[in-house]
């Protein structure tokens, strides 16, 4: 395996819950992220999927240092960025940029497109000297498929898909190595989604970018990702190459999640087995003991309430070669194919 550009180890983010006004005392914590580890290899796309509240967006924010982790490390090329500050942090941030979900609220309505895309240069003037900026911004507009003459327009003059292109151009401005994209296409119409997904893939090849692609749409994640991590309630429960996760899932949550995705093929209706989970995701302020998925799992046994399953290749698959041999945090992992094949 190629060298990891980003190493995330035991990342934790707890938001304290306090009681009292004058003498605040901590009565608990919302455990948004509760021990997440993964590597990002240069040039690859790591997809992170999970339902709302699983902590995927909090992970994204910590990767670009918008949130400070409660514990754990994020190593960029070997150095831990979570404890950095000042100049050192600024230079690292240049290399890790973010694209946000909502192109309607993540662009300042009072700034022109040129100012929005050029703003990163105010903080990092070494990338583009002052006289050169306008030309650079126009180049970026061209790269993301917008007319460079639109530089003086305002965000409201663009459609959703075009706005997302502006957000992507802003993310590219500092020539980063890593782009963290948090649900970059989920606010867009189907016909426009494909345009933006294709753009992201083209840019990755052109600028040899590494992506952390966060989404709840499993089909899009499969399309764009080399590897996929599945999150549930603050932890990664299964991680592996895309075919390992989609065609050979071994964690019951992944299996349920995949089986619930509607497939655009009416003839699959009859012979498709669906795993319907009971109940809702528990509150991250009150996480079940042992395996956090056990309250909704049809396989749960006593061991699951007592022992936290580690994210590792399950014992049953350790001697096995093949696609089931990948990390899965379940005591009773077994392979089950849930996505119908062609």
């Amino acid at each position: 395996m190629a060298e990891a550009i980003l190493e995330v180890r035991d990342l934790v983010k707890h938001y304290p819950l306090t009681q009292g006004i004058l003498f605040k005392k901590q009565v608990g914590a919302v455990k948004a992220v509760d021990g997440v580890s993964f590597d990002l290899v240069a040039g690859e796309t790591l997809g992170i999927v999970g339902e709302s509240g699983c902590g995927k967006s909090t992970v994204a924010k910590m990767l670009v240092n918008l949130e400070r982790p409660t514990a754990g490390q994020i190593k960029y090329k070997g150095t831990d960025i979570t404890k950095m500050s000042g100049k050192a942090l600024r230079s690292v941030r240049r290399n890790i940029q973010m694209v946000f979900q909502d192109p309607y609220t993540s662009l300042n309505p009072r700034m022109t497109v040129g100012d929005i895309i050029g703003e990163p240069y105010e903080i990092h003037p070494e990338v583009a000297p002052k006289g050169d900026r306008r030309r650079k911004v126009q180049e970026l507009l061209d790269v993301v498929g917008l007319n460079p003459e639109y530089i003086n327009r305002y965000p409201h003059q663009f459609s959703g898909g075009q706005r997302q292109r502006i957000g992507i151009a802003r993310g590219l401005a500092l020539q980063p190595e890593i782009i963290v994209a948090d649900e970059p296409v989920s606010a867009l119409d189907v016909s426009v989604q494909a345009q933006v997904v294709n753009l992201l893939e083209r840019l990755q090849n052109e600028f040899s970018l590494s992506y952390v692609f966060i989404a709840h749409d499993l089909s899009i994640v499969r399309h764009i990702s080399d590897r996929v991590g599945v999150m549930y309630l603050g932890r990664i429960v299964e991680i592996g190459r895309d075919a390992e996760i989609y065609d050979h899932p071994t964690h019951p949550y992944t299996q349920a999640l995949l089986s619930a995705v509607p497939v655009p093929d009416p003839s699959a209706r009859e012979h498709r087995e669906r795993i319907i989970l009971s109940g809702d995701v528990p509150s991250p302020a009150n996480i079940p003991s042992g395996c956090r998925f056990r309250t909704r799992c049809w396989k749960a046994q006593e061991r699951c309430t007592l022992e936290v399953p580690e994210l590792a290749v399950p014992a049953v698959f350790q001697l096995l070669e093949g696609p089931a041999h990948h990390p899965s945090a379940c005591h009773f992992a077994e392979e089950k194919r849930v996505v119908p094949s062609e």
Binding site: E51, S52, I276, D280
Partner: protein, 324 residues
């Protein structure tokens, strides 16, 4: 036929001019049938539904033509108080966002019970008992204990169940569900869609499912109507449309979605943007984005032509499209 919409036209007066949201929509739903209305934002799918329900904001909206025939009578000729009687008992609607559709300061029991006290004149105690029954029916656990709770105390999936319960309360003949699961997570979406389909079967209701999700449509619909720029561009039984679309727009949509069961190369992307309803392109509204467009497409509006039994397409070249 339970519901027949004929040549419906709706426009909105805006500061910048008149936006033509619905431009001659014709569709019908039979009892026990699920019709999926598919379209992107601005295609007019929700506005059509609002006109059927009679909850269109007028002004700025205006129905400029057409008929909405429900159980034999034209709703557009009825007085408001007559229509109100039909809303709830004859047809009901489920909205996308349950949190903003429910009243935050009334308990869910009070809101469910209101259906019975207003429409059926029941006493408060009876209405409350009915509310508990309904919550049981949509499988909300511990309904008796939770009937006095407020919307914010329920999860997203549970709130959507309450919306479904409210729509089902008076056993209407027709349900219109406008993106009922879009705001929900996939595992919860599956639960809610299953529940909706089951109740529909039980009561033999007609269901209009408005959505942009081709996966959900494939899972539950019998027939599908695809809308673009305020018109139906294709209508067909669900199995046929996925096998061989007869309109380039439908084809583009099907090709542009990534698949869970395969890792493709580059996605097909429909070029350009959905049209501005203030300036709908001449001829076929899809022609600026269409890979098959010819001169005739710029000048002549294609009629909704019969392709086969129960199947229509509004494309001058539907034969070519159908043959790939």
């Amino acid at each position: 036929m339970l519901l027949e919409v004929r040549d419906l036209q709706v426009e909105f007066k805006t500061r910048d001019g008149i936006a033509k949201a619905v431009n001659g929509v014709t569709y019908s739903v039979a009892a026990g049938e699920t019709l999926a209305v598919l379209g992107e934002s601005g295609s007019g799918k929700s506005v059509t539904a609002q006109a059927v329900m009679g909850i269109l904001d007028m002004p700025p909206g205006r129905i400029t033509g057409g008929e909405i025939v429900f159980q034999g009578q034209d709703l557009l000729k009825l007085k408001e108080d007559e229509r109100r009687k039909i809303r709830g008992s004859g047809m009901a609607m489920i909205f996308q966002d349950a949190l903003s559709s429910l009243n935050p300061v009334l308990s869910v029991g009070a809101q469910l019970g209101e259906m019975y006290s207003v429409h059926r004149g029941m006493s408060r105690a009876d209405a409350k008992a009915k509310a508990v029954e309904l919550m049981d029916r949509v499988r909300i656990p511990a309904a008796k204990e939770r009937v006095g709770q407020y919307p914010h105390q329920f999860s997203g999936g549970m709130r959507q169940r309450i919306m479904i319960a409210m729509a089902m309360a008076l056993e209407p003949a027709l349900i219109i569900a406008d993106e009922p699961t879009t705001a929900l997570d996939v595992t919860v979406q599956a639960q809610v869609m299953d529940l909706l389909a089951e109740l529909q079967r039980e009561m033999n209701m007609g269901l209009i499912l408005i959505t942009h999700d081709l996966g959900v449509v494939a899972d539950v619909a019998d027939r599908i109507a695809v809308m673009y720029a305020g018109r139906i561009v294709e209508e067909a039984p669900v199995h046929e449309i996925y096998k061989a679309p007869a309109h380039p727009y439908t084809r583009g949509l099907l090709d542009s979605i990534p698949r869970l069961d395969q890792k493709g190369q580059e996605l097909y992307a429909i070029k350009g943007l959905p049209p501005n309803l203030m300036h709908i392109p001449s001829g076929c509204a899809f022609h600026p984005r269409c890979p098959m467009a010819q001169d005739v497409c710029r000048t002549d509006v294609p009629p909704l032509a019969n392709v086969s039994e129960g199947r229509r397409s509004a494309c001058h070249f539907w034969k070519e499209c159908l043959n790939g």
